[in-house]
């Protein structure tokens, strides 16, 4: 039996321990804000926080999250008021929006570690998050705004 917490709620899991956390979140808990993009750690669409740190949930097996606290986009803030979410609204970052939960979770994790990231810091932290719609310049601008508002 694996126990973990997701968005502050305690959960127990006794299915396939090799199942990626991504599918547990999406199929079993209905947290569909976390997206599937590549299943191989290459795109960042599935990014969640594992004990506060951005992690690819497609590459994290259930057996790795025993005793771990997971936060998904749905749990980042109660009402969408996390500074990163507000900055995303201000800069109107999303186009199709599909990658954006991953981008936001990654950005929130970056800012938790580094409250004043340079362009290079941003490129390094956000490199793993693909946006096929091409919203990168607004992602960059929004991270700077959020940093200022932290």
């Amino acid at each position: 039996m694996i126990t973990l917490s997701v968005n502050g709620e305690e959960r127990e899991f006794d299915g396939d321990p090799e199942m990626p956390l991504l599918w547990y979140l999406r199929d079993e808990l209905g947290y569909t804000g976390t997206k599937f993009g590549c299943g191989a750690g290459l795109c960042g669409a599935c990014t969640v926080h594992q004990d506060g740190v951005a992690t690819r949930s497609c590459m994290t097996q259930m057996l790795d999250v025993d005793g771990v606290a997971i936060t998904t986009i749905e749990g980042l803030s109660k009402d969408g008021s996390h500074p990163v979410q507000l900055a995303w609204i201000k800069h109107k970052v999303p186009q199709c929006g599909y990658c954006q939960a991953g981008q936001i979770m990654q950005a929130a994790s970056l800012l938790a570690e580094n409250s004043n990231p340079s362009d290079e810091d941003i490129d390094t932290a956000m490199w793993g998050n693909i946006c096929r719609c091409g919203t990168y310049q607004r992602v960059r601008a929004a991270i700077k705004t959020a940093a200022g508002d932290l």
């Binding site: 396939d16 199942m19 990626p20 599918w23 999406r26 199929d27 079993e28 209905g30 947290y31 569909t32 804000g33 976390t34 997206k35 599937f36 993009g37 590549c38 299943g39 191989a40 290459l42 795109c43 669409a45 998904t72 986009i73 749905e74 969408g80 979410q85 995303w88 609204i89 109107k92 999303p94 186009q95 199709c96 929006g97 599909y98 990658c99 954006q100 939960a101 936001i104 941003i122 490129d123 956000m126 490199w127 793993g128 998050n129 693909i130 946006c131 096929r132 719609c133 091409g134 919203t135 990168y136 310049q137 607004r138 992602v139 960059r140």
Partner: protein, 746 residues
């Protein structure tokens, strides 16, 4: 401003038990449908707007959204004419139904082709509300006015909210289109404003629902293994290991279609399970023997050589004016070059996914589709469901770029649901998406030009070869369709006396499809690069030379007995090709980019321009190439003239994104086939632009009151050639084959 609340269809049914009124239109642009009281279970045909007695305005978004913001822009148009308060609007996504008129999203035409219709729908509703108020007050409708969700009678100081008037309005006759008074552009309230997209707040909270997020009660999950080669078939398969996977319930073969691929599913082996993960694990455990079929001969390397040979021979004549060979013979100098663009795949962030539920002779589909009605009619024709028994729920799309115009993945879900007698979600892996696409066509081109003693072009010869999208719908089609050859070949508007354009044959061995801006990518890359090569031969500045080729501002129309000008299916009287507008965007982009300024070592500026989808776009790219041949793109300046702008912020977003799409295809985009199978599989070997390569894009929108045209695709074509020309300016190296990859390192 508060975000617009989105109502699901189900939510709507509950909340609108209250009566109200609705307006319908018959296309094109003629109002015929009477209004009627809304009932729970009854939707009258042709509905775009509904107002309940609380004054809540529900606007039907006829077309689905893939990131281009039509769910916002189209309601903006209607709400403006209606004089509705944006904060009291709900947007509801239309089901697939011909009654809504065109619903496809894929030719940058949503605003272009829905603009008037939606203005009329809003104006008709407004006029009826005004009339209802006038009747109530016993005054002349002409003395009343509608403003922000209310009707006013200034003389008496009376006013009434739309909610109070809805019921009375619903009993009035619908005015016909000719009697409508549309607003003056100066009075636009929302058109031209940066309205926030209606899904924005849901997106940033992870609440927006895409096709892949659909859940219906009792749903199963499926994964499909398809033949690596298009046209191949299952010979035999062993499902024992798959069935051993916990959660796997059934494994069976699903048929595909024969003949042209069209919208049909591919056929293969389906694994049905109780979770996405179990289905995928089961699919991985299958062992299948394939009959690879006739396309196993396909090798994209050899094909490239073949097409290159073909464009050196005479092809089918598609445009002629003057006498090219005579022009060449009298030229002081000739220039010649060949260009090549490989296959590309869309790589939408949301892979293909669909939920189907077949119950008896009825089918319900939830699908991120760019072509709601095409999907419906294909399911009707190929799978035999009666049109009225097919319900297609258009979800948000996590990107489309042309891939989700194809119904294959929805058809596949329907076949599986029919087999298992339960609802099912079919999720494609990224590998599936990359290896079973409808690919952007490879394209080989040869261009020749003759220049006189002053370097002026007197002859232009362009030959192109690419497998046509026609082959997707008609087996054996080898020549480009009219729309394809009119994307940067026939429609090149240069002022040159002798012109010949040809199209050489190319057989398709894979499914060929639309890909954001389609053949414009290949052709605009080649001809804009070639202009720069001609300028070099003429000893001229490439920007000045491009402008000189454009000639005096004029309406360009190359039609003659040998040339068919397509003009994106529009009459030139309605949407003339105004070369002056094209020259203007070139000048603006060059000016904003500081064309001609001193640049640091290793930097260069390049320009390219193209009118596609009736929109005029020019791009100037600044590139920096270091001693190792690594490049970066410090800035891009775009000037775009897409006529009247509905939502400038979303125009900018599309241009920014179009540039990034251009970076992807220019730097690394390439799909190759060996023995008919795609060699790439995921983002490690099909690399797309990441944040470090994303340029800062400056978008200059030309103010215009011309008809709106389109913006989703037009920013893409000029990007690669502007970059290639910039690289030439920076390094002297001329790249003629995309992608660039390590060509600068050699």
């Amino acid at each position: 401003m508060r975000a617009i609340r989105n109502v699901s269809r189900r939510g709507f049914l509950k909340s609108t038990a209250a009566a109200g009124f609705i307006i319908g239109l018959q296309l094109p642009n003629k109002i015929v449908q009477g209004q009627q009281a809304v009932e729970d279970d009854k939707f009258a045909p042709n509905l775009f707007v509904r107002i309940d007695d609380q004054g809540t305005v529900t606007i039907i978004a006829p077309r689905p959204d893939m990131g281009q913001a039509v769910r916002t822009a189209l309601p903006q148009i209607l709400a403006d004419e209606l004089e509705a308060d944006w904060d009291r609007i709900e947007v509801e996504q239309a089901l697939a139904d011909v009654k809504y008129g065109p619903q496809g999203v894929g030719a940058s035409d949503s605003v272009r082709d829905s603009f008037m219709m939606l203005r009329q729908a809003g104006a008709a509703a407004r006029q009826m509300l005004v009339q209802a108020a006038a009747n109530e007050w016993g005054v002349d409708a002409g003395d009343c006015e509608a403003r922000m969700h209310k009707v006013y009678h200034p003389a008496s100081g009376r006013s009434a909210d739309y909610g109070e008037l809805a019921m009375a309005a619903s009993t009035l006759p619908v005015p016909d289109a000719d009697s409508l008074t549309l607003k003056d552009a100066a009075d636009f309230r929302y058109i031209g404003q940066d309205m926030e997209i209606v899904d924005l707040r849901d997106i940033v909270r992870g609440k927006a629902q895409y096709g892949i997020d659909t859940v219906v009660p009792g749903m199963k999950y499926a994964s499909v293994v398809r033949c690596p080669v298009f046209g191949g078939k299952v010979k035999s398969f062993d499902d024992s290991a798959a069935l051993d996977v916990a959660g796997v319930e059934r494994v069976f073969e699903i048929e595909g279609g024969g003949g042209a691929p069209s919208y049909n599913s591919l056929g293969g082996v389906a694994v049905v399970a109780n979770s996405t993960w179990a289905a995928k694990k089961g699919a991985d455990a299958l062992s299948i023997e394939w009959d690879m079929g006739p396309n196993a001969v396909y090798n994209s390397d050899a094909y490239k050589t073949l097409l290159q040979e073909r464009v050196r021979q005479p092809g089918k004549l598609i445009r002629e004016q003057g006498d090219v060979e005579q022009g060449m013979a009298s030229a002081a100098k000739t220039v010649e070059a060949e260009y090549y663009v490989p296959h590309l795949v869309h790589a939408t962030m949301e892979p293909m996914a669909a939920v189907a539920h077949v119950e008896g002779d009825k089918v319900q589909l939830w699908m991120p589709t760019q072509d709601p009605q095409g999907t419906k009619s294909f399911i009707n024709q190929a799978l035999g469901f009666a049109d009225e028994n097919i319900t297609i729920n258009c979800t948000l799309m996590g990107g489309g770029f042309g891939r989700k115009s194809k119904a294959d993945f929805g058809v596949e879900a329907v076949r599986i649901s029919r087999e298992i007698g339960a609802p099912v979600k079919v999720t494609w892996s990224r590998e599936n998406e990359i290896q079973h696409g409808y690919y952007h066509a490879v394209c080989a081109q040869r261009l020749r030009a003759g220049l006189d003693h002053d370097g002026r072009a007197i002859a232009w010869h362009h030959c192109t070869a690419f497998p046509s999208i026609g082959s997707t719908f008609q087996e054996g089609a080898t020549y480009g369709l009219e729309f394809e050859i009119n994307q940067g070949v026939v429609d090149v508007p240069f002022d040159i006396p002798n012109i010949r354009c040809e199209n050489a044959e190319a057989e398709a061995h894979v499914r060929i499809g639309w890909f954001r801006s389609v053949c414009n990518i290949n052709h605009a890359f080649a001809f804009n690069s070639f202009v720069s090569e001609m300028a070099e031969a003429a000893g001229a500045d490439p920007g000045a030379y491009l402008l000189q080729l454009m000639g005096e501002p004029r309406y360009f129309d190359p039609s003659n007995e040998k040339t068919k000008f397509w003009n994106y299916g529009k009459e030139t009287a309605d949407y003339p090709f105004d070369t002056g507008r094209l020259s203007h965007v070139i000048r603006v982009a060059m000016d904003k980019a500081g064309w001609g300024r001193d640049l640091p070592k290793g930097h260069g500026l390049g320009v390219a321009a193209h009118r596609s989808f009736l929109t005029y776009v020019a791009a100037v790219v600044e590139v920096a190439v270091d001693d190792n041949g690594d490049l970066s793109i410090p800035a891009v300046h775009y000037a775009v003239d897409c006529g009247l702008v509905v939502n400038p912020d979303r125009i900018r977003a599309q241009v920014e994104g179009g540039a990034v799409y251009g970076v992807s295809l220019a730097l690394n985009g390439e799909i190759t086939m060996r023995e008919g199978a795609v060699e790439q599989s995921n983002f490690h070997d099909y690399e797309v632009c990441r944040i470090d390569n994303a340029p800062e894009v400056h978008v200059h929108i030309i103010e215009s009151d011309e008809k709106p045209t389109g913006i989703g695709e037009p920013p893409v074509p000029p990007f690669a050639p502007a970059l290639i020309n910039a690289i030439h300016a920076a390094t002297g190296k001329r790249i003629r084959t995309l992608p660039i990859r390590d060509q600068l390192r050699a």
